[in-house]
């Protein structure tokens, strides 16, 4: 059974110049133990569609969908308090800016124990033991000592490890990682990706990685969705996407990689593709 099932998701924002459609009819499915990558440039609606699934968008956003189900439960019909019981526990999310997504006023230990208290109701000693266990799992040295540190005392890579530990604290069924390594150095990026993939395999989690980096897609995903301006352009398993991309947009995106440069100039998308041409091959 699929873990997350989204059909015809539409997200609109009210702006001064009328409604703006950030996500326009996107459908997707993630199975247990599967890694799905959503790729797209800024403004493609890749983050917004996942925030909509999590219910984290501000009230100004209008979210509609034919189907938005997690593990067979309808997410849209739920009351906010019911939804909060699932979000953060069974569906967890990691964000792009690890330092900004932690609260600077509290120790990292407090922030991870808060999750354990709210969702699992553990007592004080059990919370601390579990927090240390989680820190060790994500590779933070001197875990017990680190619990009393504040985010500003840690590096970006360490903060991202803390975020991963918090996300994993309740053994989620689905982990959504929104550009988890964009703000990090290449060597740290490698460590974090390796860590995520190891944990995903060990726990058999479903996972969605949102990224604009084709390299990250190639190194992590089983299946890939390519988005452009709120629409799904292509969906394929990772090998066929890189080997024989079907849509012109994906082909253009891959040829714009400096790795694939053949001549003196890099091919660019805007130079030979209009929006109509990109959407012509779009899938639902």
């Amino acid at each position: 059974m699929s873990l997350l099932e989204v059909e015809n998701l539409v997200v609109e924002f009210q702006t001064a110049s009328g409604p703006f459609r950030a996500v326009n009819g996107v459908s997707l499915k993630v199975n247990e133990g599967e890694v799905l990558a959503i790729v797209g440039e800024s403004g493609s609606g890749k983050s917004v569609s996942m925030l909509a699934a999590m219910g984290l968008l501000p009230w100004t956003a209008k979210v509609t969908a034919d189907k938005l189900q997690f593990n067979g439960i309808d997410l849209l019909g739920m009351s906010p308090s019911e939804r909060r019981r699932i979000v953060g526990k069974d569906i967890a999310m990691i964000f792009q800016e690890p330092i900004a997504s932690l609260n600077p006023c509290f120790t990292v230990g407090f922030q991870i124990e808060e999750v354990l208290r709210l969702h699992l109701g553990l007592d004080k000693a059990a919370r601390r033991a579990r927090a240390i266990e989680l820190f060790e799992l994500v590779g933070i040295p001197n875990a017990a000592e680190r619990l009393s540190h504040y985010p500003h005392q840690m590096s970006g890579g360490q903060c991202q490890r803390v975020m991963i530990a918090i996300a994993l604290s309740c053994n989620p069924k689905l982990l959504i990682a929104d550009e988890p390594t964009t703000a990090l150095d290449v060597t740290i990026q490698k460590q974090i990706l390796d860590l995520l993939m190891r944990l995903q395999a060990e726990h058999g989690m479903g996972m969605i990685i949102i990224t604009h980096n084709m390299g990250v897609v190639a190194e992590t995903a089983d299946r890939v969705i390519v988005q452009y301006k709120g629409r799904k352009i292509e969906e394929a398993d990772v090998l066929s996407l890189f080997e024989s991309p079907k849509s012109t947009y994906t082909r253009a995106l891959l040829s714009a990689l400096p790795d694939n440069a053949t001549g003196d100039r890099l091919p660019t998308i805007a130079e030979f593709l209009s929006d109509d041409q990109i959407f012509a091959g779009a899938v639902r």
Partner: protein
């Protein structure tokens, strides 16, 4: 031929002041780096955050003086700590920063942003300045109608074009590019890289290109210098560095860079299936 830029054993230390309970200390940001760039060539400086590459950019752009060591531009020794900075020197080196959303004054029109370096450093008349700004807009792929617009009306890629145009207004010999494409989308990144290559051909510009993205470096650089904790651990031509990295850190860096080719995907999937 004298290189446009030559650095000999550049060192930069920062003093961290102490407090009542803490003793002050010295951070060695750049520990003796030497390199040379010929006209029309690109030197790429690669490294992680905190390795001193931006400090080096500030020294080369003459924003900060070096603590010790020599820097020669066009064969002339430059020491801003002793001699100060003249508009003559400022004209030779210009810089483009990483984030085009932060480097353009939101309250100034594009035309004023482009003319400002001319007002400060030259005695050009207003109509000449205007003509020059218009011409430069076209050079970087924008249009004359953009002259009177404000930065918020432009996309990230267009803003980076404006930042590049501003840097070129004084006809510099050397352009320091501090992560110029890392805030941009893939397709826009390709456009800006193409623009930089075209401008280099046209004006015989010399680039110092700072980046942490090895695929971009491989595409644009002639020479590559890898920095690690303030030291240049590897320095050589692009072919040498990429085909035969000597230092263990360079090897780690290459191994960590995600690869987007079909063979490595097949390899990974095979590993996963096993």
């Amino acid at each position: 031929m004298t290189p446009v830029l030559e650095a000999r054993n550049l060192v930069r230390d920062y003093q961290i002041p102490g407090s009542l309970l803490k003793r002050g200390r010295t951070v060695h940001a750049v520990k003796g780096v030497s390199f040379a760039v010929d006209q029309g060539k690109t030197l790429a400086i690669v490294g992680e955050s905190g390795c001193g590459k931006s400090t080096l950019a500030r020294i080369v752009t003459m924003i900060d003086p070096a603590t010790s060591g020599e820097m020669l531009i066009d064969g002339e020794k430059v020491d801003i700590a002793r001699d100060g900075l003249t508009s003559e020197m400022r004209r030779k080196v210009q810089i483009v920063f990483q984030n085009p959303y932060g480097t353009l004054n939101p309250r100034k029109k594009i035309g004023d942003i482009l003319s400002e370096p001319l007002i400060i450093n030259t005695r050009m008349k207003a109509d000449e300045r205007r003509d020059k700004a218009m011409a430069m807009l076209k050079k970087v792929g924008l249009e004359e109608k953009h002259y009177g617009r404000y930065p918020h009306m432009f996309s990230g890629g267009q803003r980076q074009r404006v930042a590049i145009a501003r840097a070129l207004m004084l006809n510099p010999r050397l352009l320091v590019l501090d992560e110029p494409v890392s805030a941009l989308d893939l397709s826009v990144q390709a456009q800006v890289l193409n623009l930089l290559a075209d401008l280099q051909d046209e004006f015989q510009l010399t680039y110092v290109f700072i980046s942490h993205d090895l695929s971009v470096v491989r595409y644009i650089a002639d020479d590559v210098m890898v920095m690690y904790y303030g030291e240049a651990v590897e320095y050589g031509s692009r072919e040498d560095v990429f085909s035969d990295p000597k230092h263990s850190y360079t090897k780690t860096l290459f191994a960590a860079t995600p690869r987007a080719d079909v063979d490595s995907i097949k390899e990974r999937l095979a590993r996963k299936a096993a």
